[in-house]
Subunit: 320 residues, 6 copies
Amino acid sequence: MSGHGYETGRLNLPFVGIATFGKRPYVADWDRIEADVAVMGAPFDFGTQFRAGARFGPRAVREASTLFSFGHAGAYDHEDDATYLGGDVRIVDIGDADIVHTDTETSHANIEAGVRAMLAAGALPVVIGGDHSINIPCIRAFEGQGPIHILQIDAHLDFVDIRHGVVHGHGNPMRRAAERPHVTGITALGIRNVSSTAKDGYDAARAMGGDFLSVRQVRKLGTDAVLARIPKGARLYVTIDIDGFCPSIAPGTGTPSHGGFLYYEVLEILQAAAEAHDIVGIDLVEVAPDYDHSGSTAILAAQVLLNFLGFIFHARQQRG
Amino acid sequence: MSGHGYETGRLNLPFVGIATFGKRPYVADWDRIEADVAVMGAPFDFGTQFRAGARFGPRAVREASTLFSFGHAGAYDHEDDATYLGGDVRIVDIGDADIVHTDTETSHANIEAGVRAMLAAGALPVVIGGDHSINIPCIRAFEGQGPIHILQIDAHLDFVDIRHGVVHGHGNPMRRAAERPHVTGITALGIRNVSSTAKDGYDAARAMGGDFLSVRQVRKLGTDAVLARIPKGARLYVTIDIDGFCPSIAPGTGTPSHGGFLYYEVLEILQAAAEAHDIVGIDLVEVAPDYDHSGSTAILAAQVLLNFLGFIFHARQQRG
Amino acid sequence: MSGHGYETGRLNLPFVGIATFGKRPYVADWDRIEADVAVMGAPFDFGTQFRAGARFGPRAVREASTLFSFGHAGAYDHEDDATYLGGDVRIVDIGDADIVHTDTETSHANIEAGVRAMLAAGALPVVIGGDHSINIPCIRAFEGQGPIHILQIDAHLDFVDIRHGVVHGHGNPMRRAAERPHVTGITALGIRNVSSTAKDGYDAARAMGGDFLSVRQVRKLGTDAVLARIPKGARLYVTIDIDGFCPSIAPGTGTPSHGGFLYYEVLEILQAAAEAHDIVGIDLVEVAPDYDHSGSTAILAAQVLLNFLGFIFHARQQRG
Amino acid sequence: MSGHGYETGRLNLPFVGIATFGKRPYVADWDRIEADVAVMGAPFDFGTQFRAGARFGPRAVREASTLFSFGHAGAYDHEDDATYLGGDVRIVDIGDADIVHTDTETSHANIEAGVRAMLAAGALPVVIGGDHSINIPCIRAFEGQGPIHILQIDAHLDFVDIRHGVVHGHGNPMRRAAERPHVTGITALGIRNVSSTAKDGYDAARAMGGDFLSVRQVRKLGTDAVLARIPKGARLYVTIDIDGFCPSIAPGTGTPSHGGFLYYEVLEILQAAAEAHDIVGIDLVEVAPDYDHSGSTAILAAQVLLNFLGFIFHARQQRG
Amino acid sequence: MSGHGYETGRLNLPFVGIATFGKRPYVADWDRIEADVAVMGAPFDFGTQFRAGARFGPRAVREASTLFSFGHAGAYDHEDDATYLGGDVRIVDIGDADIVHTDTETSHANIEAGVRAMLAAGALPVVIGGDHSINIPCIRAFEGQGPIHILQIDAHLDFVDIRHGVVHGHGNPMRRAAERPHVTGITALGIRNVSSTAKDGYDAARAMGGDFLSVRQVRKLGTDAVLARIPKGARLYVTIDIDGFCPSIAPGTGTPSHGGFLYYEVLEILQAAAEAHDIVGIDLVEVAPDYDHSGSTAILAAQVLLNFLGFIFHARQQRG
Amino acid sequence: MSGHGYETGRLNLPFVGIATFGKRPYVADWDRIEADVAVMGAPFDFGTQFRAGARFGPRAVREASTLFSFGHAGAYDHEDDATYLGGDVRIVDIGDADIVHTDTETSHANIEAGVRAMLAAGALPVVIGGDHSINIPCIRAFEGQGPIHILQIDAHLDFVDIRHGVVHGHGNPMRRAAERPHVTGITALGIRNVSSTAKDGYDAARAMGGDFLSVRQVRKLGTDAVLARIPKGARLYVTIDIDGFCPSIAPGTGTPSHGGFLYYEVLEILQAAAEAHDIVGIDLVEVAPDYDHSGSTAILAAQVLLNFLGFIFHARQQRG
């Protein structure tokens, strides 16, 4: 929040101050977003099939992000000998999409409106869920913005067509995305174990051109080979379901699934993706903080998002 | 569950065995309910405006109820020198109404169907929520069953008409009930502090004949004077929002409100109500167990329900 | 946060949006505070003698306050038949005082600067701790503002002079206040059990004109007689240590002490104080949220503060 | 622990140092107990019928007791204007009785040996459970020490004779005590709700001269009338099941029961008992700390024990 | 539970309905078990040497298993391109063995009776503990059923002969098994760090033909080489102590030991064992759910059991 | 605690008895330390920049250490076929350094005095934090004891010089150490991600001869190559910040950082270091137990310390 940063004479320790994402400025007027990155919460969790609680994901990730938000001139990483997110990358927090209880369609429409506002402002939209169904309005908002390829980090395929009339739950988003003309393909990583997607869903995903790999398959292939499966030059939209990670580091989620990714496995894929592709949108979903009193899950989400943003803008600068 | 009870040679400690309500038999076929009391879960929580998690209320209350379910010949209470819920009171657990994520109306319809099945079987329906919106289909199910008066234990008036199109959220049930011709009146106890019901809701409640008292007002009046406000001979439907109780004993709920009822304050009102009225239906809602690791909230709910059932059938026997 | 309120077309449910106090506007520039009430966090907890964690008090109370922050036209209370905190009461959140780890004096100085800024702006300062030592700089900031009388709600007398060199810990604030010329008296309510203040501290408190009552003494006297012990016309500064309350509703604190006040006991005293006195400053301290996963403690703090503010401005209006 | 106390130049804050009871000296050699009070843990919980975990009761109560263990010259209580547990009251912690897993009888025998050692040393024995079955060996150890009357604070009557062969579980202790010739009577306070004791147990208790009162009955009678039911001059053994208290302040226990005592209700009875009777032994049982992350339950236990000890020795001094 | 499955028109989300294992039918009459697999709880934890709480293991694993219990036609696994546990595998839940507090021998006898009933019915017995001592009666029940080889996944060798008279605690089961003529050998995987088994226990294990490998040794060898150490054609009884896994994914256990197996390491061994051997019995023990509020431990147990059962019946079908 | 050990006829299960480190004797008189190893707590956490709570680290690690403290003749490790910490290694617990709230310098001075006492007694000092700033007085105490090289396990470089006047916070210790003439070098392992140390700190560390490796760099190099970077013959002081480990096994800490070391990675480095170097001092810091209800973090700390001590004395014996 401007006026209170390190540069203005405060020490600004992580536990001090209002919890916006990365302690960045809050922009309430969505017609006046002037930023490289805009972060919005989408606290909707009526789409869950087991534990709810992802509605508190945005607030928890914001608070966790303050741990990594010292007011210094960017974040120095000694492994890469690089400084990420220096003062030249403008990030703002635009608050949350308005959610209407009992009403999935209106809530989704409000999320879509928020993403459209961020895109209209020329900012990279980053949406913090909420359950994975919030990916549906996010993808809808990209209509008319050119073709996108989706990179999905997830335990579950989320490719259910319709079941008991449900088409916009957290088991449906990738099916909905695959139906969109502006979505040219999906690369799903981490898919494992039983989930709400039955065999017919997998068959449909294959038939519609989806590519999915388990955690063990990703490990066997390695980062480079995995990246090679994404079409060259594709504009990437990245959707990260926190349950793609191992419950050991992401227990605070609605439908945990053992055997997931460890931290660097995902981070290196994201870094490579940022170097090879134009990243046009991001969502991170299914953080249900009240199931993890240690805060590890929200801290993971914050670390992943902040590092990924660092990689993206570093790569943009490298590309010139 | 039959065959495993104390009478058949097992000690059957509380922590042993499948957690049905009171360890009573489970009846999966809703066409074959033969019981005095039928207990159904309604694990719906998309109607909440703050914390979700009431979807796990039914399972938590069932598990807590096992603490009070020794296989002895009824529950002896030395204060009343009475044995409650002896072998002659047949209680069954019919499982949960089917819930469809993202879809409020279908979920509510399924709850209504369950209550109708219990009523058709001649059993006293007891519904464990879920959020307070599940009261809406419960009350609907009583259509054609004769007039009912509602006794509400709650922190919040829940008398919102419509807001942003929402008519079936957990802030609306008493308004919806008041609109029904078969609902002849509402007596609401425990109403206090700020809630989603604004002044116009209170005015409407008054205009529609609602009677509401705060915790302090109830204390000042005493049990008898409170009971006297309910029309004599009224057939009572009792809806207990666990947040009517003080957060000191019911912290595991979505929208806690300090200053609520203590245990015996509610118990004595329920006992008096059971003695003075025919109790025709019960719901107990808003237990969100994952916010209370001590289990106190679910234990409270189980204690209240089991004692209330004891009072009801004891009174019925007394009345002959 | 302006632009996102109910009045501008959003439903704005409690779990939605950035967590400022009461979802009120954030003012980063302390030279431009234009409000009736300004709320500041003082997340300092190096003064604690048992459990730390009060540094997360401000964020927790802010988040809890959103539960009571529907975007309606004020908060209607049916018991008082009054609407509190209508649109005419301007409340802002000015963020936190800057805290410097290992350095008590600098941290306290920053808190004092914040209170001075709020006073300079003509706003009623409300400071959320942090441990009770943060009261020391708060009281210092009132120097030159006219005489004040302190109303303390607390389990502990906090009247230690110096021990092992410590003069600014959470056991010292009332002694430090009593030494100030602009503090004309202290009325301490809730004092009970063993604490860091030894007999000599009690003797000193008595000698310096302090008045202290236990919870049982307050109960025996009643609200009116308690209020009568405060000099008529005194300008009141109210310091609320959350451990003045019973651990049943305030377990999330550093040094819990059983036998504390219940909700309405304090609320009624605060309401009476607001009616009888000019309230010139408030702090609420010692909420250590990570010791209470149910959130009850932070919810209590938020409820108390919002209700107290409501009483204060309602009384001001009544006084005309 | 000697050498580290406040008197030897340390500040000795509550969170500092080894957690013995009250930070008092640890005496490993049970042949060399020289003290007025000896405290022993009895971490046995195989006698529980619902939740276990009372095995960690002794460690938790010890740690909580450090909160009230400032190294000052006794604990000054302003309500009583008295200083309790001054330097003249010698308290030692003798560690725990040895517990043998799977083996109830050997574990109980070890507890009995510990109590006998304390009695042989002339110290007032204080035993921290463990579940309530540990009262059985405690009472056995008093054989040959003269007649005792038992004052029981509890939610449950614990008067089961034998069930499925179990005679030494936590539902049996008062029956076992009543069978002992040196136990001249039992006064049980707080008994309420359903428990493992069935009607025949209540009948047996009455037949064997037991006196039991519910929480509401105690409240109606008042402290004096309750005390009057204990034979004058009786040497009292006090057994405190923490579930005698309300779950609002004692959620960390195996079989919580709503509607229990509040803090001062029990404290005043204990104070009156200490004034009117010779207190010859104490146990406090059923603290299962892992069900209460706030620590309130263990803090309650520590506060009750330390205050009760203060009352006992203050009364002894008064009696001269 | 029949009548409520997906095939009968319900969506049957994981959080809906009574929590039997995998939501499979409950069979109360142990003389009428008609199934391929029978699951029984053994909620006994008096054999633990550190934290208790495994008595709630059966209920927690049952509830967690509902997450993986969608009512679809079996569980499709895209990595194996196989559908596991299709409608042709009949699984039933027979509830819990009766446990008698304070009485190890009777409780164990009841467990043995349950396993004998499952074996008599021709069902594969799956027993959910409880602590590891419940393996003792399980193995006893296999007497007269032909020779078995035990595959143990565990952090601890559990090969204590007798200590302080204890022979049936959770440190003794493998010693007890090794003494049985029908047990032809033990392969123990994951054994590491200090435990209750001293050097003489290891020597005895070696002398009695036991084979044990640490986690690091298993990793170095690989799944195939590990499997090769089990005699060809051996009929395998598999006992899984959840503490064989790393505390990162199984913190909810009584005696955690760092450095344990990760998910796929065990899963691949179980899959290979199912392919190479006839699996004749399974127990999974030491899930103490109240030490893991995230539920990860119980979810792990459920995932392991359901996948293992899938592998077993898939392999049986492959073998024809 | 002597007199109560296994050798004296007690079973002495882990949950039984006073929680000193490893249940070893407590020595209150720091002038009479006669031991090979002396363990001291340093419960200071005012140096933290995010979550506090490390003040309870010493008590938590002590309690966790009881799990590994069976009274047998040393700890047998089957992987090494070695018995560690046999009766010939004398370990004592000397309690905690005195901490003075609000006063960093006095608290640090008290810690320094404790370490000097241990060194004067010829014991290997082991200090349990507290936050990482407690390393500053530890290193100061080694002045005049000959040159030392520091081996640091940590997520963060902790090489901040001064910021806002802070020189003794938990971000400063390695900078303070590097300034000391008796510190000949620092090898830091596990350094990763963003932290309070900015680029200039890294540059300074490099300039002052510091060597730091990330987790991934350590993995790539392997234990031997990492060890080779420490000067031959260096006398090692080892400082272990628990956040050097992965949050999956160490969530209970103030500033968690994903991607940390797993258990054996650190253990093998410590074992190799113990074999190759004289270990002259150890501290283990930043365990904040209240953020990890499973206890995994404290158990990890206890396991690491006890194993490391075993390795050290085993190596000393091997060296003769």
